[in-house]
């Protein structure tokens, strides 16, 4: 598997006091759409800035397509299209002037630069705003211009930091669709704390927490990690009928059931048991009891649950991991599959 990004024991400590990135080893497969997930302050943005050479690591190393990252690694930056959160752009310029400047900085000849900036402005829907100064742009327009700027050099790797932050639903949809399209031809790393974005577009995911990578791998593997085989049935009917159905379902083999509220029945299937068979029996009870079924949701596939569980595990295993790594010198601790 060729890697677009590889970091080894990457560490960033600010002023000897604040640990922003903590011994992080990350591998992003080439051609993947990789979601870098984590709460605010987890170290996602710092990681991106270390890859870009805007910051120097305290320890460890980072590579992009096999080339070492660093302050003077212009070759690496030439392969990266960076979109910062709420991009701060030179306000006195107009979109064409800004993209023209970036094209020159990226050493693009005029015959490539001019048509590309025009097509990018059209692609991000800013053709009508070419005569406006950037400081008059809304957040969505700035993000779209930032997207165009990140694509100006046609790089094989895109690092987008919270690309949907502050966008209205239409702009958010546009951005997610664009990521999906661009992901067909290049590697994309999207740093975000919005789980639904990751759920929709990413095939690989890494979860950062307090500067550490606590999980890294394919999306489906992360979802598989959720221990609860749980289903949520949304039903309608008298509350006493729902309670009775829950009691009867709870007596079924390999099934634990409870009424969460007046309209929700939560069913948990024991590990190893046939989920289809258990669920069929529960649904039969619902039908016999005269309840109207509105929806069945699998909590098992809920990224949010998986994510929260990972964070809880990490909090619980903090010291165990330290001891484990001291003994084995390994990248991954017990109970996580970070690689």
């Amino acid at each position: 598997m060729s890697l677009a990004i590889r970091t080894e024991h990457l560490t960033k400590i600010y002023g000897g006091k604040v640990i922003a990135v903590n011994d992080m080893s990350l591998q992003v497969p080439a051609g993947s759409i990789y979601g870098l997930l984590g709460p605010n302050g987890a170290g996602k943005t710092t990681t991106l800035r270390l890859l870009l050479g805007l910051q120097t690591p305290t320890a460890g190393k980072a590579e992009v397509f096999g080339h070492a990252c660093g302050v003077n690694a212009t070759g690496v930056r030439g392969m990266i299209g960076f979109l910062p959160t709420h991009p701060t752009l030179p306000g006195h310029l107009r979109p064409v002037e800004y993209l023209e400047l970036l094209g020159k900085v990226c050493r693009l000849p005029a015959e490539v630069r001019k048509p590309r900036l025009t097509s990018l402005l059209r692609a991000v829907g800013l053709l009508d705003a070419t005569d406006q100064r950037i400081d008059t742009f809304s957040t969505g327009m700035r993000t779209r211009l930032g997207i165009a700027a990140s694509l100006m050099a046609d790089p094989p790797l895109l690092l987008w930091d919270e690309p949907t932050a502050g966008l209205d639903p239409a702009a958010r949809r546009f951005t997610l669709d664009l990521i999906r399209d661009l992901g067909k031809t290049r590697t994309i790393l999207v740093a975000t704390h919005i789980l639904s974005d990751i759920d929709q577009i990413c095939d690989h995911v890494g979860v950062m927490y307090e500067g550490r990578m606590i999980f890294s791998g394919p999306m489906r593997e992360m979802k598989r990690r959720l221990q609860r085989d749980e289903y949520i049935l949304e039903v309608e009917g008298p509350p006493e009928t729902l309670s009775a159905a829950a009691q009867r379902a709870d007596q079924l083999p390999d099934v634990t059931a409870r009424a969460a509220d007046q309209h929700t029945l939560v069913v948990q299937v024991a590990e190893g048991a046939s989920r289809a068979a258990a669920l069929a029996k529960v649904l039969e009870l619902v039908d016999v009891g005269g309840l109207t079924l509105h929806s069945v949701q699998s909590a098992r596939n809920d990224t949010e649950h998986a994510y929260l569980q990972l964070l809880q595990e990490d909090q619980a295993h903090g010291f165990r991991r330290f001891e484990y790594e001291k003994r084995h010198g390994a990248d991954a601790g017990p109970g996580d599959s970070a690689s």
């Binding site: 800035r49 870009l52 805007l54 302050v71 930056r77 910062p84 020159k104 990226c106």
Partner: protein, 293 residues
């Protein structure tokens, strides 16, 4: 190509900003006012020195330093990191291009304002004023040295802005450190380091001929030194003989009449400003390249 693109971009930004435009207008008006008020009174060399006074002493040195401060300070730094330095350009390419744009801007304003005024003062007929022996060589040397001082001031602002990060703090520190230091250097009559002293020495430099200066300077220097030595010896003997030493001589009140600059050395002054300029740019670049953005 990236450095050239940044240079053009910075030049465009500077000239579209209000600071440079207002400065150009104000400097032009002040120069015209100086020229008009001294038209029938001052000889060409002293008039030229007066025209250069705002650039070397007060108030334009502040603008020059402020222009130097701005490239990598305050909120500009965020836009710079997000918009430019995350692209395939090195930091020193950006910094040097940005510094060069500021130097070019400052020198452009300086020459735009000063050149027509100096040419007018030199070639226009002014019957009320005695003829002056200003030479082309002197004018060229003076233009070079004043340009160098302005470059030095930009670089000093550049260094302060890079080290202190906040433009206001950098401006205040520069004003309260550089200006008193300049006065101290002036009392020592070190034209190599003090723009105030250099401004006083300019009339002498403007009158320096191209070929003769070396011989004449040597002669003048030795006679001046001999006279000074004799005066000092007399003083010592008077004190040993129980007499009172002579009171120190007082300079005349006129700014350009104070001091004797016949031993003025172009190369000494040139090195006096160019070495600190290079050092300031090198230190600023080194610091910026090591900084986390």
């Amino acid at each position: 190509m990236p450095a050239l693109a940044i240079l053009r971009h910075e030049l465009g930004s500077l000239w579209s900003g209000w600071l440079v435009r207002l400065w150009l207008i104000a400097a032009g008006l002040l120069a015209l006012l100086t020229l008009a008020s001294a038209w029938g009174q001052l000889q060409t060399a002293i008039l030229t020195g007066s025209l250069l006074f705002p650039f070397l002493v007060f108030p334009w040195f502040l603008i020059v330093m402020l222009l130097g401060i701005s490239p990598v300070t305050g909120s500009r730094l965020d836009a710079l990191a997000d918009g430019i330095l995350s692209r395939p350009i090195t930091r020193y390419e950006y910094l040097l291009a940005s510094w060069a744009a500021r130097v070019v801007t400052v020198l452009a304003v300086f020459f735009l304002v000063i050149t027509p005024c100096v040419l007018l003062a030199t070639f226009a007929k002014r019957p009320a004023v005695a003829a002056d022996s200003v030479t082309w060589y002197g004018m060229l040397c003076a233009a070079t040295l004043v340009s160098l001082v302005l470059t030095f001031l930009v670089s000093l602002g550049f260094l302060a802005g890079t080290l202190l990060r906040r433009p206001l703090v950098a401006a205040v520190v520069l004003f309260f450190v550089w200006y008193p230091a300049n006065f101290v250097l002036d009392t020592l009559q070190l034209e190599e380091f003090s723009p105030i002293t250099l401004n006083r020495a300019l009339p002498t430099l403007l009158r320096t001929p191209w070929k003769a200066p070396d011989d004449q300077a040597d002669r003048k220097l030795s006679s001046t030194d001999a006279a000074a030595l004799q005066r000092q010896w007399d003083q010592v003997m008077t004190v040993f003989g129980g007499g009172q030493p002579e009171p120190p001589r007082r300079d005349s009140g006129d700014f350009f009449q104070r001091g004797n600059y016949e031993d003025f050395s172009f190369w000494k002054v040139f090195l006096g400003y160019s070495i600190p300029t290079l050092a300031a740019v090198a230190v600023a670049t080194w610091c910026f390249c090591r900084r986390d953005l």
